[in-house]
Symmetry: C2
Subunit: 140 residues, 2 copies
């Protein structure tokens, strides 16, 4: 029956049988979904890929194939690899900002610890006194 | 000549002509590269995709197709969409860490500004004195 055909069988102008492997993932109300996937992979390759998977993983596979096909149609040169580059740049940018901020914290922590370093200054001061003393001794 | 055939023409057992569109991107010394792309997209779809692009963009397109094909062979359910999920998680993690670190800085900054509020403490102290004074006056 023509009305019961899935988007794939409608697109390929063939009978849609009850065991059509594409039917659950390419419903007739979304013809664009199959058209995209077919244009990039071809119906035969999509069918083979889904056939190799257990039934419970096929929906996720069909979704990811559709996502990649859409990316390739929008960006025929890089496809979703373009998106991967973009995300890697975002990670690099976020990590650089994080390192800068962590460095800022380290500087601030060393500044707030400054009062605790006063004993060192006192020792340094007494060293100066000792130096002054030894200078005085030398002058004697 | 059989020895001059590119990996695609060798794989497809056909003559490799001088104007073979696949030849520059699928050299004979890397048969695996074409095999991967052919298994996922099919030679015909790869040829069509490259034909639609200007020559200077075809090498990049062939590389990204190979990358996506490899991802799909390694992960038949998610392909390189799995990698995109992973990168998005990394971005989320780096950004969360960045916000926490920025919040830590904000707390530290407010703490380092604390000594500047001492005049307020002095005023508060003199208010106490005034209060003590008024208590004393009341006791008189």
């Amino acid at each position: 029956m023509s009305f019961g055909r899935c988007a794939a069988c409608r697109y390929l102008r063939r009978r849609c049988t009850q065991d059509c492997i594409l039917s659950p993932y390419f419903p007739s109300n979304n013809p664009q979904r199959f058209a995209s996937v077919h244009r990039i992979y071809g119906a035969s390759n999509v069918t083979k890929l889904l056939q190799r998977l257990p039934t419970h993983l096929r929906a996720e596979a069909a979704d990811s194939l559709y996502f990649e096909a859409q990316c390739r149609l929008e960006d025929p040169v890089y496809g979703c690899v373009g998106l991967i580059f973009l995300l890697q740049q975002q990670i690099h940018s976020a990590e650089s900002q994080l390192f800068k901020t962590q460095a800022e914290i380290a500087v601030m922590k060393s500044q707030t610890q400054y009062p605790q370093t006063q004993p060192f200054r006192a020792i340094s001061g007494s060293n100066n006194l000792l130096l002054q003393q030894s200078d005085n001794d030398a002058n004697l």
